[in-house]
Point group: C2
Chain length 147, copies 2
């Protein structure tokens, strides 16, 4: 993944992830990323697969280097996003999972749960997700099997 | 999902989930489930997608009512399993996520991380995953979009 693509990020959530999405969007913009916000844009109830599919299509098409995706627990969003070839969506809850998903799984979508992960932990996951390189080696063989 | 299918469970892990798999397999057998163990059968390093794909194929084919899948963090296993249509694999870390993934996502595969989730919490997630019904309603519309 080249450096330019890495600086373009797509973000999406359902209503349950909306507040955390707004906070992480501000964080990304403060870090200098160009953020494409696919919604949702308010607290009205929507269907998480619609937003997860839109984000996954954007990442799979190379329109963004990385994606950040949220729903209430992150579980529904993960299921939907990982239906798409080329998308490796990692549901993270802490710094360790955010690090391992990059080092071992070459994750290109960070998934967080707006109802389960506190804002400061979410920010920490985001920074680690953006900064941690893939280790390759035996992990590359495994990632190739996720195609 | 009918009651007979629910009493047939398939389980699989890579080396990092092996010990937790053995423990959960004993728990399932003690609860009266027929457990089909797809491996791995020891601590030797293997590739998590091989085991996740085998389990997902079994669940998608209706060979088991539910699946239990493990790797180190659960992230790689979730990505691989959710590549398969009809599989809704939920990475859980606590009682709440194990409950919500059934109530809202109708998850048919419980994913746990052998290196991140303690045995007693894993057992609690398993019991909740097995006992909690899907709520339907607006959640059924969303689950239909995961097809």
């Amino acid at each position: 993944m080249d450096a330019i693509a890495d600086h373009s990020i797509v973000i999406a959530s359902d209503h349950a992830g909306f507040e955390l999405k707004e906070m992480l969007k501000q964080e990304l913009e403060a870090l200098g990323f160009a953020v494409n916000d696919l919604g949702t844009h308010g607290g009205e109830s929507v269907d998480y697969p619609d937003y997860a599919d839109a984000l996954a299509r954007a990442v799979a098409a190379g329109e963004a280097g990385r994606g950040v995706l949220l729903c209430g627990t992150g579980i529904g969003a993960s299921i939907a996003a990982n239906r798409h070839a080329g998308v490796r969506a990692a549901l993270c809850h802490d710094a360790e999972s955010a690090s391992v998903c990059r080092r071992h799984n070459d994750a290109n979508v960070l998934v967080l749960g707006g109802r389960v992960t506190a804002p400061e932990i979410a920010r920490e996951c985001l920074r680690i997700f953006l900064d941690t390189p893939f280790e390759g080696g035996r992990h590359a063989r495994r990632v190739a099997k996720l195609a």
